[in-house]
Amino acid sequence: MRNLIEFIIRYRNFFSFFVLELVCFTIIVNYNREQRQILLNSTSTYAGTIFDIYSNALDYLDLREENKKLERENTQLRQYLQAVEGSDFELDSLILDSLNAQYEFIPAKIIKNSIVALDNMITLDVGKKQGVDKHMGVISMDGLIGITVGVSENYSVAMSLLHRQTRVSSRLRSTPYFGSLVWKNERDPTVLDLDDVPKHANIELGDTVETSGYSFMFPPGIPIGTIASDSLPEGNNFYTIKVKLMNDLSKMEHVYVVKNKDRQELLNIEGNNE
């Protein structure tokens, strides 16, 4: 111990340099987005294969949680089914309904995801073959994930909710006001901003924010998050609302791509009458 102290004192100049340099690099990596990105991505840049094997192995560790999620989903679906069976619906109309349903859900698996970049993208293991196309919503059982922007035969790429260009038309559950959901707080992947809600709207903290369905990408009424805080900036006619996401975008695996069968028709009629 004494030797160690003597050693440090003898090379105190080097140690002061070393400690301060450690401080510097901690600051750099924590406060500079680019350098942080590079540090986090260097594994995939230099050893992509190792990274792949690693994530494959980790998949098995998540199985328990994934199972639970699917179980929960199953229970929910069972409950819906029971509610339907108990009601006076006729079976014929039900079948007809589900055949003519506007929205179709394509199950998919996330094979690549990120939440630390400014513009996060997600890769899904479904593509044209499974009926996925551009501009389709991606949802999970407990919230939104993103919007597809590119498809190949077997894969598709989606802009995550955590992408600065992603905008989702959303509404408040208790009042009919709607706005546009966008990610602005780039440091926090759990909070989004709801813009364009007029100032005469009555806003309650904790109210659920859900999809409005106006963009034809998501069916209306899917819960996205809850209102964490709201403020009305001086001289502004629109609220600044912070929405806390319900789902954790950093751990998602099984998702659904939403196919709106009438989307083209809706876009055509809107385009013709503008």
Partner: protein
């Protein structure tokens, strides 16, 4: 001692102000040509007296870097590079010691040491500084070509400004 202290304190503020109010703006004036990066702020560390305590040198380098980082909005980058230069300075000073040795209580200025010696001294430290700065900024050697191009242009411009400043002010300490 106290004269040296106030002299250098004054120099610290003057150099920082010149760096962020003039040189940073010159760099920002060419948004299409991102190669105009002129750094003269290491001059503060370069001009400290020869007998400055190495640990004090480290501390001052770190402080100077952090100050510049505040204005360049790049927390830690200038600090790490400046710290490295401050740490490296004593061994360089030892290596390029002239035959007669250094005069006591003097600073490495062209007036004391001659222009040739000063040019070599500044050239080595500024070259290291600029190369390390762009390396840390890029944080990976994937972009080595762009790092080198930026370094060479920035080095030439910075040395030009440095020598001009020294020629105009020509301080003895």
């Amino acid at each position: 001692m106290s004269k040296d202290f106030f002299n250098n304190l004054f120099r610290f503020f003057l150099i920082c102000l010149f760096q962020v109010l003039v040189l940073q703006r010159i760099g920002n004036a060419f948004p299409d040509f991102p190669y105009v990066n002129i750094f003269i702020y290491p001059l503060f560390i370069l001009l400290l007296p020869f007998q400055t305590n190495p640990m004090l040198l480290n501390g001052l380098g770190f402080l100077l870097g952090l100050t510049i980082d505040m204005f360049y909005d790049s927390p830690g980058i200038h600090a790490s590079v400046m710290l490295f230069i401050a740490y490296f300075r004593p061994s360089l000073v030892r290596r390029i010691e002239p035959k007669g040795g250094y005069t006591a209580n003097s600073s490495p200025t062209p007036k004391r040491m001659g222009w040739a010696w000063f040019f070599r001294y500044t050239g080595i430290l500024m070259g290291l500084h600029i190369f390390f700065y762009f390396s840390v900024e890029a944080f990976t050697y994937v972009y080595i070509v762009s790092i080198l191009i930026k370094s060479i242009i920035s080095f030439a411009l910075s040395m030009l400004f440095l020598m001009l400043i020294m020629a105009i002010t020509n301080p003895s300490n």
